[in-house]
Symmetry: C2
Amino acid sequence: MQTAIECFPCFLRQTIIALKQLYGMDDTHGGIIRDILSIMQEADTSKPPAYTTTYIHRLIRDRLAQDPFRDIKHRYNAIALELYPALKEKIKESRDPLWTAARLAIAGNVIDFGIFTSIDIEGSMSRALKEHIAVDDYPSFKNAVADAKGLLYLFDNAGEIVFDRLLIEEFVSLGKKVTAVVKGAPVLNDVTFEDAAQAGITGLCEIIDNGSDAVGTILEWTSPEFRREFEAAELVISKGQGNFETLEGNGKKTYFLFQSKCDVVSKELGLSPGSMLLKKS
Amino acid sequence: MQTAIECFPCFLRQTIIALKQLYGMDDTHGGIIRDILSIMQEADTSKPPAYTTTYIHRLIRDRLAQDPFRDIKHRYNAIALELYPALKEKIKESRDPLWTAARLAIAGNVIDFGIFTSIDIEGSMSRALKEHIAVDDYPSFKNAVADAKGLLYLFDNAGEIVFDRLLIEEFVSLGKKVTAVVKGAPVLNDVTFEDAAQAGITGLCEIIDNGSDAVGTILEWTSPEFRREFEAAELVISKGQGNFETLEGNGKKTYFLFQSKCDVVSKELGLSPGSMLLKKS
């Protein structure tokens, strides 16, 4: 997808969310804002907004000399881990554990501090477990999983990763070889090795990083090692809107599990914001 | 008030609202956006956001070579005029016509295309006519009106001006000399002479313009003639958030009638967004 005019106010909204992780309602960041505006002036609108947001979050981390999302990532991993036993039980007891785990993985995508400032996890789970979601390619997804020996699982956010763990556990119990992918460096509240460890993924499956600090998965900025894995993958499970923005139409057999959070992506999909999707590429 | 960090995404949101008045969902305005970003980089955050929004709307009108709000202003004047007879009747029948007219004038302030993209006039009226609003200096307002021979009435938006007409009619029926003030040139959906004529204000009271195309009333940018009127005024009735932003604390005896529409102004006032105010300076 391309960068829309509506992405520009959102670039600044994301900047403010990031700055406020460390400084509350402080207004002393005029200098950073001016540099963010310079980045926005250079935005290549023929590319997905993830390019510009990547530059923006790099600048913020550089100026603050720290990752503003570190604490909130840790906190949401912990919150989600408290939910884990009940969710595991719900999956076990369900008629189709893969369906329930996939839906919960979509529910977990509500945890996103790039876009939201408050999170309703319970509400998201209850919506996800209703029969109807906006795009539901589950039958095809189930067949694709059955047919594949292995799959590449692209994480999105901290907290959400605990929901991903439940789905990966279903894949593993079905005998699939799962390779899970974290970011090569912190960006937003996206998952790194540290989060994978906290969420209890270590040991469950192979974990690699993509060698990149980009929002979503900007293939040209990932490491050659990751690109080899990506090329070789039989099936890709892609979590989150950022990965959808950057990977849609790339030709790889992919299932996108996410919530359509912003007006621009929702409009491109012909859906209302907040829609849930299990979408075949 | 000063410009807050949260004003920056809003500057762009306002830009998009203005551009879309003419072009719908067109995304071909990259050039304008880049120039707006330059204006934002020069923003003097020690001043109210109205300074920056004034520069922004000047640039938009200049680039489009027309006023993007002209049609929607005309339309909302017409919509409000249809409501006029019923509102006039409601005021006549009420126990305190000045109270009812003042509250309806606050209700009319919901018509603001600088901030909103859709408008709920009926809902706004029903909220305004409830006993409680967030700030209610009506007893003091009533006394101030009773004591004054004349007053200066600063308009805000088209459409809203029909609600202002009802309040001005109350002032006139109380024997007050009213001088009403329109903008010196189009800006946003603010009232000009053309709107005053459409709304039926002509002949009801003296109408002057403030010699300025600024958002709100930036005194240093108004004409010397307007400033003389302002200095000489016994009592000022100020409509809208823009006038509040730019005139609060100026020392003049003023009653601000408006809805607090954005997070920044609401926070400064200690209120939730959407609060209604009849506030003494």
